[in-house]
């Protein structure tokens, strides 16, 4: 599909990002020793080492993930924010650490506050001490890369790009996205979910669920008051769209001349089969996202109460296989609801009926 909208190419040109092809090609060939390249490779190696040590410690971490049950009290957060200064090297230089006053850099200060809000939700709602359940210091790098349209969790820290300024603003602008990235860490420390196909979509959905909860808890919004949007405020005003995703109505977050329409399905009837995006992990996550929102809506009140307890128990209970399907996850949430609230509870009913609505078989 080729849509002709002028603003994107015009903005790229005026930004000096690219030039006519032949000189650019020559420059690129001459610049193969750019520091960013070796930095990215080094960071990837580091992250791989960390993943290995996480896997070795999995059994122990699963037990430690419920400190409240062990009579421990979550401590205060220990945050450190770094600035990559447009390179792709991690972590970058220190901008602000725990207890220090605002740096004056909006990205760094948004990241610092966002980490605090995230730490607070896990401590208050679940008695969990940080991402690993035992006080892991929280680290984030801002200003990663040039016009980098993304944010990610690299296995040990969060990384935020500034956006290209045409489609995306800086990625720290959205608290739900900060919460989303840290939730990838929680999932990893809870035993992990393979980042592919349905298990990957569950991994993504859990990040959206806990990302939304961080934002709702920080704003003290009830289920009825909340937007249930992920990444609100990330689009520039040139984009026709409210956010990256809608948990309440998947597929409706944006509909833009250039970006196209939000591709998320809202039930198994429209499940998307694709090899892109690790098997559509950011697409089919709409289905379990909506299931969570339906549970919260049925129960009313605040989503960080019963609905979140059920999902958190499912994630950290140690029964979820790394290759879990939607069906296996759904069954696990039903089991958690039954264990926490009883077989005759409204919570148990709400969970069963939510999965029925999104057409996931129990």
């Amino acid at each position: 599909m080729f849509r002709s909208v002028a603003y994107r190419s015009a903005a790229y040109r005026s930004g000096g990002y690219c030039s006519i092809v032949p000189p650019y090609l020559l420059r690129r060939l001459a610049a193969q020793q750019e520091p960013g390249f070796s930095g990215a490779a080094e960071a990837a190696q580091k992250a791989l080492l960390h993943v290995k040590s996480f896997q070795a410690a999995r059994a122990e971490l699963t037990l430690l993930a419920v400190p409240a049950a062990r009579g421990l009290k979550p401590g205060a957060p220990e945050r450190t924010i770094y600035d990559a200064r447009s390179l792709e090297q991690l972590p970058g230089s220190l901008v602000r650490n725990e207890g220090k006053p605002p740096s004056g850099d909006p990205a760094a200060d948004e990241a610092y506050d966002g980490l605090g809000h995230t730490h607070r939700l896990y401590a208050d709602a679940f008695g969990r001490d940080s991402i690993d359940g035992k006080g892991l210091p929280l680290e984030a790098t801002v200003h990663y890369g040039k016009r980098y349209d993304n944010a990610f969790w690299d296995g040990r820290q969060m990384v935020f790009g500034d956006g290209d300024g045409v489609v995306f603003e800086r990625f720290t602008k959205s608290l739900s996205v900060i919460g989303h990235e840290l939730a990838h860490g929680v999932t990893q420390f809870s035993g992990g979910l393979n980042y592919r196909n349905q298990a990957g979509a569950l991994n993504e959905s859990l990040s959206d669920v806990f990302g939304a909860l961080v934002e709702q808890y920080a704003k003290q919004q009830s289920t009825a008051e909340a937007s249930w949007l992920i990444g609100e405020g990330l689009f520039t005003d040139q984009v026709q769209g409210a956010a990256l995703r809608s948990m309440k109505a998947p597929g409706t977050a944006y509909d833009d001349d250039v970006l196209g329409k939000d591709p998320q399905p809202d039930s198994m009837d429209s499940y998307v089969r694709t090899s892109a995006d690790n098997g559509g992990v950011h697409i089919n996550s709409g289905i379990p996202n909506r299931a969570f929102c339906l549970v919260a809506t049925a129960l009313g009140g605040n989503a960080w109460d019963a609905p979140a307890q059920i999902w958190y128990d499912t994630l950290t209970g140690g029964t979820l296989a790394p290759n879990a399907t939607f069906g296996a996850f759904a069954k696990a949430t039903v089991a958690s609801a039954k264990e926490l609230f009883g077989a005759d509870s409204k919570e148990h009913d709400a969970v069963r009926s939510a999965w029925e609505t999104v057409k996931v078989k129990l």
Binding site: F2, C18, L29, H184, P263, D277, V281
Partner: protein, 98 residues
């Protein structure tokens, strides 16, 4: 000659596609070394290529050759090819989506 770079994933989960159709002979002569520099036969299949959460996935095609790479493996000649293709495609017109 036709070069297609498709980027999927990222926290936004938005698919972007950049297509270049170099004109022979001058343009194709410039692209050929960029394409030949990539180790096409040494990349794992799409089944093996699992990324870190929220990182981009790249599907790269140059005529009959094809490779799927997670973002962290997009280094050296791969990165050069992708960045050149993106720059050339954006110079030629607005980005394709989907």
């Amino acid at each position: 000659m036709k070069i297609i770079v498709q980027r999927s994933g990222g926290v936004a989960g938005m698919k972007r596609t950049w297509t270049v159709r170099p004109e022979p002979p001058e343009d194709t002569d410039r692209w050929q070394p960029l394409i030949e520099a990539c180790p096409w036969d040494d990349v794992a299949g799409p089944g093996e290529a699992t990324g870190q959460p929220d990182r981009f996935m790249y599907s790269i095609r140059a005529d009959q050759r094809r490779a799927v790479l997670p973002e962290r493996e997009l280094t050296g000649p791969w990165r050069d090819l992708v960045e050149c293709a993106r720059a050339a495609a954006e110079e030629a017109g607005p980005a394709e989506i989907g």
